[in-house]
């Protein structure tokens, strides 16, 4: 597992002026993001703001219309998805993409497939070697599962696990390749409060282990609690960026996304407390 914790000031992921057009619709319009090493960077915005498109552009699932994506200083624009993943970028999906007919352990082990270099023909005849390789992979998967607190469930079929568990297991699968960066696409969507707390714990633990996270999230609890830096998108354009405090008090962000209620919550709580007293 990752343990090398880097300095915080180097750029890890730098997206420069990227644009994505679907025919006439501009899904992402000239957005630039500079994510520092070993941070948790959140991307927020209303539905249809182009957040998932951003992640798909970074991971090469969709081709860019224009712009540039750099990872650790290397240009990864236009690379095939699996090559981008090999550069050290992992990802989870908004609508979970797991392997329901396989066990949790196998699910996580798929994530480490590239860590086992033995070819197919050699694997047939080199019984000892492939067994050793398989054991190493399994041990690593078990370590990852322990880290995300799901070791006890390792032999359960994925389809029998609750939604929240399946979702967290995707982070485990992404961790198998020791990526520097993991992109989380709405990790807390559909989780209940206790699962959400668990998720935050898992992310935070991984962060302490040296992983960096780029996260799309609607749940403000989670975003404000764990992110170091926030970028706000609305209708494909970037409307604000900054620390959670800065973004929370940004007028435009409040109007476009958070809603005045979010800010007034504190005031209301105050007045509620006052009314209690009176």
């Amino acid at each position: 597992m990752r343990k090398v914790v880097n300095k915080r000031m180097e750029s890890l992921l730098r997206v420069t002026e990227i644009t994505k057009k679907f025919q006439g619709l501009v899904a992402v319009d000239n957005v630039s993001i500079d994510m520092k090493e070993h941070t948790i960077h959140a991307l927020i915005g209303p539905n249809g703001a182009g957040k998932t498109t951003m992640v798909n552009l970074i991971t090469g699932v969709l081709p860019l219309t224009s712009g540039k994506v750099e990872f650790e200083g290397r240009d990864i624009t236009g690379m095939a998805t699996h090559n981008i993943a090999r550069q050290g970028i992992g990802r989870t999906f908004q609508n979970i993409k797991v392997f329901p007919t396989m066990t949790l352990l196998e699910n996580v082990m798929v994530g480490g497939h590239e860590q086992a270099p033995m070819g197919m023909v050699k694997g047939i005849f080199d019984i000892k070697g492939s067994r050793k390789e398989e054991r190493r992979l399994k041990e690593k998967a078990e370590a990852v599962l322990t880290r995300i607190g799901m070791y006890d469930l390792r032999n359960h079929l994925m389809k029998n696990l609750p939604y929240g568990r399946q979702k967290i297991s995707e982070i485990g699968r992404a961790m198998m390749n020791d990526p520097q960066l993991i992109l989380l696409d709405e990790p807390a969507a559909g989780l209940n409060p206790s699962e959400r707390a668990e998720l935050v714990e898992v992310i935070y633990k991984a962060y302490e282990d040296g992983y960096s996270f780029f996260m799309i999230e609607h749940n403000m609890d989670v975003v404000m609690k764990i992110s170091d830096y926030i970028t706000v998108l609305s209708f494909g354009r970037m409307i604000a960026e900054g620390t959670p405090g800065e973004v929370q008090s940004n007028e435009e962000v409040i109007r476009a996304y958070l809603g005045s209620r979010y800010v007034e919550q504190d005031k209301r709580r105050d007045s509620y407390v006052k009314s209690e007293w009176n």
């Binding site: 699996h82 090999r86 392997f99 396989m102 798929v110 047939i124």
Partner: protein
Amino acid sequence: MKIKLKPLHYAIATLALAAFLPFFITNDYYMMLLNRVLINIIVVLGLNFITGLTGQMNLGTAGIFALGAYSSALFTKYTNLSPWLGLVTAIIMGVLIGRGLGYPSLRVKGVYLSLTTIGFGEVVRLLIANTPKLTGGTQGVRNIRPYHIGSYQFQTQKEMYYLFLVFTAIAFFCAWRIACSKWGRIFKSLRDNAEAVEMSGVDIASCKIKAFTVASIFGTVAGAMYAHYMGYINPSTFNLDLSTNYVIMLMVGGLGSVTGTIFGSAVVTILPEMLRFLGNYYQIVFCSIILLGAIFFPDGWVSAVTVLFKKVYQRAAKGHYAEGGE
């Protein structure tokens, strides 16, 4: 002391059983059926990688099988070399087909891929039938030499049976090793969710082509065996019915199950013969049996045993609870 059974023990037991089988069968016709079972096992072992594990419906198995049979038969015919070299030709053919058939599978999905593979099978059959100068056309290829070791030729059904048993054992070993390795796991995960696999840094294009290539090699090798076993091949054998039959074998054995292929091939090859006494009705009875199997045991007939065990176990457990056990 309790002996823990390992896959190796099962394999040895099965092989021993298979080796003794000919002693109880005096009829040459039944021996022929057994040989066909062995050939079919190899084809289905291969098909299992595409359709069972990777989840891409392949209805062009007959085409693969035909190309294997013809490449080996024609090679030995024209060069007058040993059928063993024909086997090598068949393997090379398998690699080529796997590449050629694997590429469309990257772009064409689901039903459309099935149609593509049907097209492949038919194109192969028609090409063979319509190039009489090279392949003998609809007349087929005659007098294909049987396998031999030195000057010893495998000619009777029983001799063939033992040779094919060795072939099948090797093929089974390879298929088992692949299916139980990380490759089997990656094939299965491709069936479930390809995007997630890609994001794990796996080149899914090369993986799919690998699955097709392995399957084609198994298919062509079986085709070559078939050609040298029958001594005569003609294109009308390799029709869509044959491809469908292989899918049925796979289904009866259980999609994705390596051991199930033995059972599936045996049932689908032998059952129609058992039903011969029904005369004209045998086809409808056979199809009904297969259909019922598909409805009640979608994971293969072998799964029926596991389902039964589970039911009995649950009942026993329930009884245990009813008696006040914890």
